[in-house]
Point group: C2
Chain length 267, copies 2
């Protein structure tokens, strides 16, 4: 009687994580393992964890919580069978008292028994859905990073956490902007619909041509900028709130999970 061999082959997300773990990939994860959910990372000491969890709950568009580790455990089994947040992201930022003290490609030496890892949904998921629907994304066409901006919008405070929201910007024709709002509203756990469109000054962006991060915007006549809450928001909050120790991913250098983007579509 024939037996069926168990499928032990790695999925594309596992393959990329192995490349990152080995140190062979240390740059951005844009476009890697298409279809798989990528996530923002925030690691905090346990005595800050409950308040950060409450902050995420209070700010679901900027900080859509996907998974949270147990204290001292660097694995996230709900996101993938082999995930270890100490080595599975290509690049990390280490903060001490709210100031970046170093950038790392492996945080194993910095891990502590009192740390808790949080992962937050990322706009890469909805960008894939936009492209699938034929909605072009200018910065991707031009091989640039998405533009992000600090805004004047206050996040909802929780415990010691407070600060301004960071947004990412993508520009579209009116028809594609409507499609983009329709589509991204179906992904509430990866930032959902935009929080604003049109006049940047209405959300405290003084000059749209000067993003905080990312490449030069290229907004053409007839196009409207749309602004989404961004998973980099916790990093500006950390700078404001100054916990003694914190590690985050570096913008664009995400955790690639075994979950499919499509599993996060609400309809």
């Amino acid at each position: 009687m024939a037996t069926v061999a168990a499928d032990t082959s790695a999925n594309p997300a596992e393959t990329v994580r192995a490349e990152i773990r080995s140190g062979r990939h240390t740059t951005v994860t844009t476009g890697l393992a298409p279809g798989y959910l990528q996530a923002n990372l925030v690691i905090l000491p346990a005595d800050w964890a409950d308040e950060f969890s409450a902050f995420c709950t209070a700010n679901p568009k900027a900080c859509p919580l996907i998974a949270q580790s147990t204290v001292g455990d660097p694995t996230l089994p709900t996101l993938g069978r082999d995930i270890d947040v100490r080595t599975n992201l290509p690049r990390y930022r280490v903060f001490r008292d709210g100031l970046q003290s170093s950038e790392e490609t492996d945080i194993s030496p910095l891990w502590r028994d009192d740390l808790v890892a949080f992962t937050l949904g990322c706009s890469y998921s909805f960008e894939a859905a936009l492209l699938d629907a034929g909605v072009p994304i200018r910065h991707m066409e031009q091989g640039k990073k998405v533009c992000t901006y600090r805004t004047g919008i206050d996040t909802v405070p929780a415990g010691r956490f407070h600060g301004k929201m960071v947004v990412s910007m993508r520009n579209f024709t009116a028809a594609n902007a409507i499609r983009a709002i329709e589509i991204t509203s179906r992904f509430p756990r990866v930032h959902g619909a935009p929080i604003h469109f049109g006049d940047p000054s209405a959300i405290g962006i003084a000059d749209i041509d000067k993003p905080e991060f990312g490449g030069d915007p290229d907004i053409r006549p007839g196009e409207t900028p749309l602004f989404w809450a961004c998973g980099v928001t916790p990093q500006t909050v950390i700078e404001e709130v100054k916990p003694p120790f914190c590690i985050t991913h570096k913008a664009g250098h995400m955790l690639i999970t075994d979950l499919l983007n499509e599993a996060f579509r609400t309809s």
Copy 2:
């Protein structure tokens, strides 16, 4: 042994239809029988029906077909047990060779064995959903009719049917515009998401202050006009295509069905 009496009480839609049928209500149906789907009406001779059905299929945002009668039958049992399109709308427009020949409150004397009735979804359904979500609608606050405009957008032709799209306009702050797009995209069978926002001239509207129908628009600083495909589109198409005979509802004087708006929400 006790018996349970059958519930023979009329639902709110039936109650309003009875008022209309009796001639006691002959004005717009805005706000009547809240929660019940209202519909646009187009009645055509059978030899135009297949092409009109194809036209609706080709233009689902302007002409979302809800029900179609059999030839010569003025009832629409899928929309309500007592519906008769000859008497159940408060006001009708009668067209001969593309020109309005009269307005009627009862078209029984005009009914013919070769007529087919089409009903199309109406934006009243999504307006109710917007208000339920706390998104204010200026023209309703001011007790005005919604503004509608002929555009330069060609509908997709089908058979002999062709012509320009009519749109309705509602203006919002950016945050409420995003909510309005999110919500209306959940109602694809009642026009769905807007087809445009912002610059009216981009869709061939020369002067937003001069609507074809409806009251004076009141667009305030920081607000954006959103434009939805409108169920009045067939009336301008009829004027263009000039079938020998056609009856429609008069704008705002809709068929109130027994179907609930919520049944048309996709998620």
